[in-house]
């Protein structure tokens, strides 16, 4: 083969990019699509099982559990603020902002997990009490696993940010991680509305 005559030189292009230009952004979007599908199907199963009960719910949610769930929702929403702050800092490459944002965000995440444990201790039925208990624990449990792993991920990133050296692509990682956390928060909202604000559940 004779050497190619024309070339397309790309050496001037950057070595990282934020947002949908970044392949990892798409990878995480795929993960979110998978998990959303799983949550939707779990919620569909919830409605399917709900339809089997003449009297729903078979066990009432205690008042203080409803309160704890409302607090959890509040803390969840609140946690999006520091993470948003960390994201902004990542775009500008500001180390302090990323550290504070991630630290506060993961702290609030762990608060949610702690409150969840309290909720489960008080809730008054188990996964093996009835099908309602099974699906309730399944959905809320799965979401808690996501909250926990998201918070641990924040810690991991914090480790990188404190130990250094910090590369440009770690800024993208912080940003992607933050976006995933928004997903964790956003997926909680329909779960909260369906599982806790259902008029029959509220009235019980």
């Amino acid at each position: 083969m004779s050497p190619p005559r024309r070339t397309l030189d790309v050496s001037h292009l950057p070595t990282f990019a934020f947002g949908h230009r970044d392949p990892l952004w798409w990878g995480v979007t795929g993960l979110m699509a998978i998990e959303s599908t799983a949550f939707v199907l779990m919620l569909a199963s919830y409605f399917y099982i709900r339809g089997n009960y003449a009297h729903f719910p078979p066990t009432a949610l205690p008042f203080y559990v409803k309160v704890v769930a409302a607090v959890i929702t509040g803390v969840m929403l609140l946690s999006a603020v520091p993470i948003h702050y960390a994201n902004r800092a990542a775009l500008k490459g500001r180390l302090r902002g990323m550290r504070w944002g991630l630290a506060l965000g993961s702290l609030l995440g762990f608060v949610v997990v702690a409150l969840r444990i309290v909720e489960f201790l008080w809730i008054g039925f188990r996964w093996d009490t009835h099908a309602y208990g099974s699906i309730f624990w399944f959905i809320v449990g799965m979401h808690t696993v996501h909250t926990l792993s998201g918070s641990l991920e924040d810690l991991l990133l914090l480790g990188v940010l404190f130990k250094g050296p910090v590369e440009e692509k770690h800024l993208v990682d912080v940003h992607t991680n933050g976006r995933y956390w928004f997903f964790v928060v956003a997926s909680w909202l329909p779960i909260y509305v369906i599982l806790y604000l259902d008029p029959a559940v509220l009235a019980s």
């Binding site: 397309l8 970044d22 180390l95 302090r96 996964w127 093996d128 009835h130 940010l161």
Partner: protein
Amino acid sequence: MSAPLPTPPEPPPVRDDEAWERLYLERTWAPKKGLIGWLSEVHHTEIGKRYIITAFVFFLLGGIEALLMRWQLSGPEKQVMGPDLYNQVFTMHGSTMMFLFAVPMMEGVGLYLVPLMIGTRNAAFPRLNAFGYWTYLIGGLLLYGGFLLNVGPDAGWFSYVPLAGPQYSPGKRVDIWAQMITFTELAGLAGAVNLIVTVFKHRAPGMSLNRMPLFVWAMLVKSFMVVFAMPAVMVASTSLAMDRLIGTHFFNAAEGGDALLWQHLFWFFGHPEVYIIFIPALGMLSSILAVFTRRQVFGYLPVVLSMVSIGFIGFGLWVHHMFATGLPQLGQSFFTAASLMVALPSGVQIFCWLATLWGGRLWLKLPLYWVLAFFAVFVTGGLTGVMLGTYSVDQQVHDTHFVVAHFHYVLIGGAVFPLFGGLYYWFPKITGRMLGERLGKWNFWTFFLGFNLTFFPLHFLGMMGMPRRVYTYGVERGWQPLNLLATVGAVIMAVSITLLLVNIFWSLKRGEVAGNDPWGADTLEWGTTSPPPSYNFLHLPTVRGRYARWTAAEDQPVVTGVRSDRKEVLVTRLLDAAPDHRAELPGPTLWPLWVALATGVMFIMVIFTPWGIVVGGVLLFITLTGWFWPRPPYKEELAPEQPS
């Protein structure tokens, strides 16, 4: 490979000099050596090959199980196996063929070919690829380990509850099945995300979406279907495992659960699954058709659109597997209509291909043989499918061998025939040698004959009332002659597969050397050596038309400026594939293997104790930390602010 290289005098990251470039690339992309090197492999061609070989081994195992069943059914009241073993064997056969052969095989072919076809150096997430393979392997070994220890699952490949529930299936058999599902689906999802992102972000400059090869489109549609279908079966199998292991009541009617919920969740996955197997086969078919008719496929746009619409409609069909469960009238009509509707895009495709054949000059080589046979076999399966899609007919032949005949016509016709065509077509690319022509013809004709001999009689047996999944039948039924015929057919198929194996092993050593492009084909993988080097292309290509190599300009430009001293690849934009940035991919590592093993410990241990979650969770956290821990940094890529 790691032999000391002469140090270039003044090493610029990129030089226009081919020899230096090759030297650099070889050193940068060289796999590690020895066993550790083998275990830490992350290149897509190697992972793809492993998927293909492993899936083929499972195909052989599933085939042996099929032979055992046909032997048992060859005459009335035979005693090859008792009812219990027969239950295990048909469950193993079905589960193996669906979860361990068909889906991973298509995935493997996709992982091998797609990065080559779109002109990049590796998949977008190389380590995720390796992780997927290891999880798949663990799932398969779990299933067969269980089978050897007489805890092989026995509730059918879709494990209906209540039969599969804790009450009617005590012991560990169904648990093993449920965990195998979780493993393979995890692997499937990992591969799907990987393919989607690779296709979205790593296409060669110029390969805009509307210039992508049809095969790549097929893999893309398939991957999207995986993303939305497989979570359903993971939710289902997890629920089933929990019902059996920790006493939940998802499917227990006495406590408010529902057995039909299982069927909904399973078929919400199970029907798309059929298309997950079938659509990649369509992709192979389109590649082969274009090359062996020496022309562009008729109607690129309608073919792509019908693949996409099959992808959507495929999700609206699941209930037609449940026609016998007593559905409300509206449901019956809706799902009958949806089931018949899928015939439209399928029809559009078939006619586009026929038109391609019509106008082309047929180059009758082995790949085309399998494609032509596909038309005959698949259309037959499609016809019985239209029959079964009708509620009233389904009521008659539900759970008989008519259904067995139908789905083998669709599955083998729709997936195995194109797959074998693809094998003959791409074998030269993967190995560098052609498959033997003579043996290949014998292989083809015996398979075609054996297949029809095995499965055509089953239509009649089904209409005569022979039920599926029953280990024997009485003499007075008069089903013997047709059954014997079917068994003879199965033996002929076994002979045929043996010929194929002989051909493969013979050709690996003695086959004619293929060269880069034995077929004069259009897609980019034929532009590099056979087998491709560890960096795929010496120069990353660019594209200016749908059939990349056929439409290339005399002096089609190549990409320069991607570093060859790092595992760098070009990232392009989603729609128009214009160059966007350069990104470094990770190299060989053992972490994916450790993470897969941690996942394995978790899923297998929970069969015995819920502590598996805790132990596995901790192991997963540790191994994932290792996976994500950053490599030593590059000076010129540091962020503006650093920790003091």
